[in-house]
Amino acid sequence: MAISSFFNSPRTVFSAATLLRAGFLLYGLFQDAFSPMKYTDIDYFVFTDAAHFIAQGKSPYARDTYRYTPLLAWLMYPTTWPGFWFSFGKVLFAIGDIVTGWMMFRILRTHQNMSQERALKYASIWLLNPMVATISTRGSSEGLLGVFVTALLWAVLAERIPLAGFLLGFAVHFKIYPFIYAASIVWSLDDNRKNRVTSVSSSPITQAIKFLTPRRLVLAAYSLLAFSALNAVMYLAYEWPFLEHSYFYHLVRIDHRHNFSPYNILLYLNSSLRADSATHASSSMELERLAFVPQLLLSAVMIPLALAKKDLPSTMLAQTFAFVTFNKVCTSQYFLWYMMFLPYYLPDSTLLRSRRIGITSLVLWVLGQAAWLHQGFQLEFNGQSTFVPGLWGSSVLFFGINVGILSIIIRDIRSKESSKSYVKAGKST
């Protein structure tokens, strides 16, 4: 009873979410003040240092390992003021969490036609998730991305196409990977279903012309405009280091340090062998350089084509899941990227309807990480050479588990009726 009445009112849920974050934030201040082990994330010091450089009229890239858009450092500007202002960024990220949760709630209510109680329950996967609250109150910017991506989804569902375009361009400028959503959003923007049925017989050119609907063109135009304008401004302000650190760095990074990615040990192996035998021909085929092919084919082409017209939010979940699973580098904060889509997918999912599959998936997902973390700990702190078979085996195992979960998600979306009533309902708002 208590639980159901708790989820009856947005006020209680959002108050609880706010209190949760306030609690973590205060606890963090306490731990930072009294312990040499800091609650605050290392990245937060990177942002705030970068903000200090900006405050001195310098480039944020004067700070080592600052690999973000200068906008983030500008957002952190108040942290350069004295006193409690240092925590401004964490407060901002926490507020971002709540705003994201509110948009989730609105999307679930309006576009998935949920009752208030049900919508609040599912939004709580994000709002009351201690992992989400910890990440943002420790000062990691991943949560902030939730605001932009969720706003993007809302704008598409609410048919605010120019706004959606702007948000897409902005999100890609902020963190690159949201570009994968372009394909699914574009593909989902059908004018109506009749078009599609008749188009089967027409020639490629007419098909192409029919594909280029005004809404798609508007989306493309606004997103490109936003993306290029932001980049142009940042380039004018910070020149080459901006491009180097926010974009090109991701092309040349080696990612040799152990992480969840199945490619990790292979990258370490081949990168170090290549350095060893810089002169004579490399024995490896360097196939790992093609790692982006399956990743991008799945997340940016195939999943959008196959699924976007059926259920856009769940498709975006599948895309993100595929992107993270097949990525050359994968750490736990990347899991946040797909977690922000779970509230839309889970309600009708096999994972919730079949208790057995759901619990098995969750247990395996956790166990896969636990196995890897155990090996990682043995390496990092006990100095055991667990690269092979331990770390490699557990990362491939975790990869397999993720692929299994992804296939369940894909099947669920495939089995849905084509684009339900989201857009229609969306028009009514």
Partner: protein
């Protein structure tokens, strides 16, 4: 060629003037227990052309090599550097010298030195004190445990057939440290070698004579004298200019000194027994990928005078890194008994694996957080209690190898008190002044260094760390396995996405398979 040979008698009670015998142009020492410094100044013209050309590339070049074997210091030869090969240099502005340093080092000190090109391997030396214009601009370091390569090289290229030259150069194998200095103004190369004890471990019994015409040799046999001025050190003994003096000439002098013995009361006593403070270096196992360097002092260090601050200067090869951003938090610093990170220079990229780092490594100066100077107090309280300062480090990934671990050397850092000196500018009049050690440039010119001796005991002044690496013997299936797993997963997902109805059928659902594309 000019030579100056100085013996510092370790125990004046054992010395009698009769132990010296000057005849013609030579001097014979009969069992003199002493430390020895040999300083040889060679004009570029006296060197083989190839070597002379190599030196001419530099505006200034200072090589400091120190043995990893522990040795006792004796004033005035107090200063220390981390064991291994240090090179401080300023390239000639007019001449681009890429690659020259690495070629020179590879042929003299060993092919295995990590040095691909001068501009990439060397790092800029930070200079906090602009007035200290003596400092070189660039730094290079590598752990070189022995001078065997250099000795071979000099015997072959410089000595040629001269037997005496070969023998004398061979003595370098027993040296505790060796300095080589060149600068474009003097146009001369100065070699300076130090032996803390005689080659046979007991006493020097040797004859020194002038090797050839036009060459001068000056031999000093000195003992410590009590000094009137607290910042000076004083010596008494005998000087002999070979070929000129018929007998050893008594002498007595005092000089201000940059490097000062820690034992404040002792004047002439030899070994470490009087210097109250020593330190040792260790890594607490398991080191993992985040080894913590521990400096252990037998007692809590007490400043010899109120202006003194205890420092440690670390020379970290490229596989070790220090995350400077960790050391901004006062609680973190305090928990490691560190006061502050004064300076860090060199390869400080926190993300790169060792195989992409071209630079030799990094140099770090910390001030340690010792108790405040309180006259006459506290001393009893901390007595007998070990005192530690720790420096958390991180390891870069090392290349995959045919073993599970790769062992890497970590030479001991140096530890010293940096104190205010009243007569800083006069220090260079000290005939035994030693500069270009990598850390004096980080202090003002009016700084006196009081060196804490490493407590080598039985071991060496270097620690070895086992770094876990990818074991190639087990890695045969990594490439095939990874790519196979990705391809199978990819094809499986494509089938789930586009495959036949059966795929969708397994999932109970209302709109099953109806709307395939």
């Amino acid at each position: 060629m000019k030579q100056r040979i100085t013996y510092i008698v370790s125990d004046p009670d054992t010395f009698r003037p009769e132990l010296l015998d000057v005849k013609h142009a030579s001097i014979t020492l009969k069992k003199v227990q002493a430390a020895k410094e040999r300083k040889v100044t060679i004009g570029l013209g006296e060197l083989p052309e190839q070597l002379a050309k190599a030196f001419e590339q530099w505006h200034e070049l200072h090589i400091r090599w120190a043995s990893s074997k522990p040795y006792p210091s004796i004033p005035p030869f107090i200063s220390r550097v981390t064991p291994g090969l240090h090179v401080f240099f300023t390239p000639h502005k007019a001449k681009p010298t890429n690659g020259q340093l690495c070629d020179l080092l590879h042929s003299t000190f060993g092919k295995e030195l990590k040095c691909s090109s001068t501009s990439e391997a060397a790092t800029k030396l930070p200079i906090l004190s602009e007035r200290f214009s003596m400092s070189a601009s660039s730094q290079y370091y590598s752990y070189v445990p022995t001078l065997a390569n250099l000795v071979n090289y000099v015997q072959e290229k410089v000595c040629g057939e001269k037997k005496r030259c070969k023998e004398e150069v061979g003595e370098l194998l027993e040296a505790d440290y060796l300095d080589v200095d060149y600068d474009a103004i003097s146009h001369a190369v100065v070699l300076n070698a130090f032996w803390s004890t005689a080659l046979d471990g007991d006493s020097w019994a040797e004859t020194i004579s002038v090797p050839g015409k036009g060459q001068s040799v000056e031999v000093g046999v000195l003992m410590h004298e009590t000094r009137p001025d607290p910042e000076d050190i004083g010596f008494g003994g005998f000087l002999t200019v070979l070929g000129q003096d018929k007998a050893p000439k008594p002498t007595r002098f005092q000089t201000p000194t940059r490097h000062y013995p820690l034992s404040s009361t002792s004047t002439a006593t030899s070994d470490a027994e009087t210097s109250s403070l020593t330190y040792s270096t260790s890594f607490a196992p398991p080191t993992g990928l985040h080894p913590t360097l521990t400096l252990t002092f037998p007692t809590s260090p007490i400043p010899p005078n109120p202006t003194c601050k205890l420092h440690t200067h670390l020379t970290l090869p490229s596989y070790l890194i220090l995350d400077k951003y960790q050391f901004t938090d006062s609680l973190f610093l305090a928990s490691h008994n560190l006061k502050s990170l004064h300076s860090i220079s060199g390869a400080t990229d926190l993300e790169a694996p060792d195989w992409v780092v071209e630079q030799w490594g990094s140099a770090v100066l910390f001030e340690l957080a010792v108790a405040e100077f309180v006259e006459g107090e506290d001393e009893g309280e901390n007595e007998g209690k070990e005192w530690n300062a720790t420096v958390p480090l991180h390891l870069r990934y090392l290349p995959a190898a045919e073993s599970s671990h790769t062992s890497v050397p970590v030479p001991w850092p140096v530890v010293f008190w940096a104190c205010r000196a009243e007569e800083g500018t006069k220090m260079s009049v000290n005939p035994f002044d030693r500069l270009h050690l990598g850390y004096e440039g980080l202090f003002g010119p009016k700084t006196r260094f009081m060196h804490v001796e490493p407590q080598g005991g039985q071991g060496k002044l270097v620690e070895w760390i086992d770094v876990p690496v990818l074991d190639l013997r087990k890695a045969k299936w990594v490439e095939v396995g990874t790519i196979g797993a990705v391809i199978v997963a990819f094809l499986g997902l494509v089938w789930v996405l586009f495959g036949g109805k059966s795929a969708a059928k397994k999932v109970e659902s209302k709109g099953e398979g109806k709307k395939k594309q």
